[in-house]
């Protein structure tokens, strides 16, 4: 049975096998390839999206479980002030090396700051521990999040 859900503000109907993970519906059916495949089993965070605002591993979330939910992906990150501020902080700190993990890192960091706008240093570390960066840009990822937490986010940023 097709599943009706909202992705980045648009209503979508996905007619895929019930157990197909959201990741593969996004990438393969909708051509939205910003969300990345890293491990496929919930271990790396590369595929992180927001489901009703909560950071969620799209590789381990079947499409059929998302009926009526609001999904947002990296492609719409700039629409949120926190997301925008983090994107800019990422560029200012030149966070990335290969960049492959960074969509997931940004989505997870955005969910963290939306919930807890001024996390302590170790709160950032434990909140980000689920996201692997093979290039190990951890120092800069941490610094960029701390920067946004310290400066706050204005609604019109």
């Amino acid at each position: 049975m097709p599943t009706k859900l909202t992705i980045n503000g648009e209503t979508r109907e996905l007619d895929v096998p019930d157990d197909m993970p959201l990741l593969w519906a996004l990438r393969g059916e909708l051509g939205m390839v910003g969300t990345k495949f890293g491990c496929g089993v919930g271990l790396c965070g590369a595929c992180t999206v927001h489901v009703d605002g909560v950071a969620t591993r799209s590789c381990s979330t079947p499409v059929s479980s998302l009926a009526g939910k609001q999904v947002s992906t990296i492609e719409s990150l700039a629409e949120s002030p926190v997301g925008r501020a983090l994107q800019q902080a990422w560029l200012d700190a030149d966070v990335m090396q290969c960049g492959y993990c960074q969509a997931g890192q940004l989505m997870n960091a955005t969910a963290l700051l939306a919930k807890n706008p001024s996390p302590a240093s170790d709160e950032i570390t434990s909140a980000m521990a689920g996201n692997i960066c093979r290039c190990a840009c951890y120092k800069r990822i941490h610094a960029a999040i701390a920067e946004v937490a310290a400066n706050g986010v204005s609604a019109d940023a």
């Binding site: 895929v16 096998p17 197909m20 993970p21 990741l23 593969w24 990438r27 393969g28 059916e29 051509g31 390839v33 910003g34 969300t35 990345k36 495949f37 890293g38 491990c39 496929g40 089993v41 271990l43 790396c44 590369a46 992906t73 990296i74 492609e75 990150l77 700039a78 994107q87 990422w90 560029l91 030149d94 966070v95 990335m96 090396q97 290969c98 960049g99 492959y100 993990c101 960074q102 969509a103 940004l106 570390t125 434990s126 980000m128 521990a129 689920g130 996201n131 692997i132 960066c133 093979r134 290039c135 190990a136 840009c137 951890y138 120092k139 800069r140 990822i141 941490h142």
Partner: protein, 736 residues
């Protein structure tokens, strides 16, 4: 330690071509013949640079080397823009396809891009600047020598007139083409772009999630493929029952691919094609394949370990190097110490799983979108496999989600092309699962070292022996499982002997970031730490005593051309710097200890100090790393440079703390990040980096910061607990 040193020296014969752009403006291409030998053993390759300046002032630079996250796509254009005196904000950087005759040597690996491109890229920029100057001088009726340039603008100080590069670009196309070897270069103290921290050129696209990686390739009508190959290395496909997989809804085709026994090319397997990769991949569960594993199913890590011990008990098969009189040194020793070391196979696991998109057209021509560090060999291999001439194969190089040496081997390109050849006219995107990636790698070879050291009555290290046990494949020791005769401290201990024995294996082996050095640094710098402790001294003191007063070694030939030999002076420079940074002579805080490591690899010198402790549950914790590096006189882009060093250090710590690929039943046991636990944010220590800027051309930073951190950590743990870590990854039971 020095066998992979490669710096290219500039050839004198270079070719500069210039002309007018179609829509007006200046176009420049520089060819430098005979720069480098292709790593595949091919003939002399060329190194080219492409610059164009349009009438609107936009300067386009083609960045031809594959980008794996090492920052090359930003760095090479910086070199051109510097000498061109370009306004960096007007520089547009475009990637290039693989093109054997147009762009010459395109390659990412061995930290070679910096040394190979340092001079020629700047010469190309300087040549373009000179042509612009001449055109402006002609127009104003003055001598070019009096004119000044800055930020894409030419000024005549005498009259105060100015002209932009864009305005003069079209007439500059008619300027005399300068002699590249004679064009004057800037005084290096006047650099304004080199040395500036510049963000990665693709970064804005990355934070928006735009499709720039290989796996993001999307083509009309594209289908996805999954590929099932033998779990046991060396196994061949006997027969396969494909019916159940074919019956899975959504699966469009299932077929056997017949390969050969070279894992770097095409191996036997079964391809499944579907409109969605997840469907194709899941259908693999339904395949019934009978593999002929031959003798290889009996191979295991435990077996290799037992064989290594047996080989140690026998005379070595070969001598790598013998200096002085080793037997006499041991006969006359006041003290002899012995130790056995081991390190495991490691996988690369770049974050973007292997993938490749291929289209074989009806006329037999081939188009590929490949995340490869070595497009050359992939291009040749695919052309040969499909029996089409090279010019019928086009390879688009995509950005890569990490490489670390994995994408130097193009097995995935062969697979994608072989599958696409069966689906003519349909673009096929082959994607590997993470499990495929971990189980079908070209692994950092495991190795065993049995050391002996002779210390005389005065406490001097007089003799050193290493019996190295490694692997052979079909009788030959693979390149990256070898150890060279110059591995430090060869040449610095009066009596020294390295020997080698090997055992046969079919586990594919290859280059992992800082190949050879990433393992040899651990065993040699750990054993030297043992020697120093026995002397009542410490490792940096021992290293300095071996190195002081020794001359620089002569130039040597590597596969990228000539490179400077090992310099004890530069080594001493970083060792002393690291000692000073870490306040080495002052003990660490209560419950913590410091350890030292030094290594020279890929032309870079790094000394590092690790401060570590044990957690309440007796797990090693790294708090602080101080790193001193000498990679020449300039750090071209400090952003990229520091990022590479920080990444290398955490990478090395992660390897030491928990990574190993184990073989059982001829197959890899690990499957995903739960049993191959890459380091995560909580592992990240404080990292301080300083550069010792020596008067040498700049060299690369992708690798040399990794090797010393591993022994620095194990040596710190010894200082803390008195326990030697003689096998990696660190066995936590050691400290229980």
């Amino acid at each position: 330690m020095r066998e992979l040193a490669q710096t290219a020296q500039l050839s004198r014969r270079s070719l500069l071509k210039a002309g007018a752009l179609a829509g007006g403006g200046l176009f420049l291409s520089v060819t430098l013949p005979g720069m480098a030998q292709a790593a595949t053993g091919g003939g002399a390759a060329e190194l080219n640079a492409f610059v164009s300046i349009a009438p609107d002032g936009v300067i386009t630079i083609v960045s031809k080397n594959p980008e794996i996250g090492q920052g090359i796509k930003t760095m090479l254009p910086m070199l051109i823009a510097e000498e061109l005196d370009a306004d960096w904000d007007q520089v547009k950087i475009v990637g290039s396809d693989y093109h054997p005759t147009k762009y010459g040597f395109q390659f990412a690996g061995g930290s070679m891009s910096t040394p190979m491109n340092w001079l020629p890229m700047r010469q190309a920029g300087a040549a373009a600047r000179q042509m612009l100057l001449e055109a402006a001088a002609l127009e104003w009726g003055v001598a070019p020598a009096g004119l000044r340039t800055s930020k894409s603008t030419i000024t005549d100080p005498a009259s105060g007139r100015t002209m932009t590069y864009g305005q003069v670009a079209s007439s500059a196309a008619k300027s005399k083409v300068p002699d590249l070897a004679k064009v004057p270069l800037k005084d290096e103290k006047d650099f304004v772009i080199i040395g500036r921290a510049i963000g990665g050129i693709d970064s804005p696209k990355i934070v928006r999630g735009e499709p720039i990686f290989g796996v993001d390739t999307q083509l009309p009508g594209m289908k996805y493929a999954a590929f099932e190959r033998a779990p046991v290395f060396g196994a061949r496909l006997r027969s396969a029952d494909l019916e159940a997989a074919k019956a899975v809804p959504g699966v469009e085709d299932v077929f056997v691919i017949e390969g050969g026994d070279n894992p770097a090319e095409l191996v036997d397997g079964v391809a499944i094609v579907a409109g969605n990769w997840w469907i194709a991949n899941k259908a693999r569960e339904k395949l019934k394949i009978d593999w002929d594993t031959g003798e290889w199913a009996s191979h295991s890590s435990a077996n290799y370990d037992a064989q290594a011990k047996k080989l140690w008990a026998e005379p070595p098969k070969d001598t790598i190097v013998e200096e002085g009189d080793v037997s006499a040194a041991f006969a006359g020793a006041a003290k002899v110490i012995e130790a056995e070391y081991h390190y495991p196979f490691l996988a690369h696991v770049p974050m973007e799983p292997q993938n490749c998109t291929a289209l074989v057209k009806e006329d037999g021509s081939v188009e590929m979108w490949a995340p490869t560090q070595m497009p050359q060999s992939g291009h040749q291999g695919v052309a040969k496999m499909l029996g089409v001439p090279g010019e019928k194969v086009t390879v688009h190089i995509t950005r890569m989600g990490g490489g670390f040496g994995r994408r130097l081997t193009n097995d995935f390109m062969h697979q994608a092309a072989a599958i696409a050849a069966r689906k003519k006219g349909t673009p096929i995107q082959l994607i590997w699962s993470r499990e495929d990636d971990l189980r079908s790698d070209f692994y950092r070879p495991a190795g065993w070292h049995k050391f002996r050291a002779a210390i005389d009555a005065e406490g001097k290290l007089t003799g050193l022996e290493d019996h190295f046990v490694t692997f052979s494949t079909k009788g030959e020791i693979p390149m990256f499982a070898q150890m060279g005769p110059k591995v430090f401290p060869a040449g610095y201990v009066p009596n020294l002997k390295y020997t080698v024995s090997q055992m046969e294996s079919r586990v594919p082996m290859g280059a992992l970031r800082a190949p050879q050095s990433n393992a040899l640094s651990y065993v040699f710098q750990s054993f030297l730490d043992e020697v120093a402790a026995e002397q009542g001294s410490d490792l940096p003191t021992l290293l300095l005593s071996l190195l002081r007063g020794k001359p620089d070694e002569p130039m040597q030939r590597g596969f990228g051309g000539e490179s400077p030999g090992f310099s004890p002076k530069r080594a001493i420079g970083v060792i002393e710097k690291a000692m000073q940074m870490a306040d080495w002579s002052t003990p660490a805080a209560e419950g913590r200890a410091k350890g030292f490591g030094f290594y020279f690899s890929h032309n870079g010198y790094f000394a590092e100090v690790v401060e570590a402790s044990l957690s309440r549950s007796r797990q090693p914790v790294v708090h602080h790393v101080w790193a001193a590096g000498d990679v020449g006189k300039h750090i071209i882009n400090p952003h990229g440079a520091l990022n590479q060093i920080e990444g290398s250090i955490i990478d090395g710590i992660g390897q030491a703390l928990g990574l190993a690929v184990k073989i059982e039943g001829g197959a890899v046991q690990q499957s995903n990040f739960h049993d191959y636990p890459l380091p995560r944010m909580p592992v990240t220590p404080t990292i301080d980096v300083e550069f010792v800027k020596s008067d040498n051309p700049p060299t690369g930073l992708g690798e040399p910061a990794l090797p010393p951190v591993v022994p620095a950590l194990t040596n710190a743990l010894h200082a803390l607990t008195g326990k030697r870590v003689r096998s990696l990854p660190i066995d936590r039971k050691l400290f229980a």
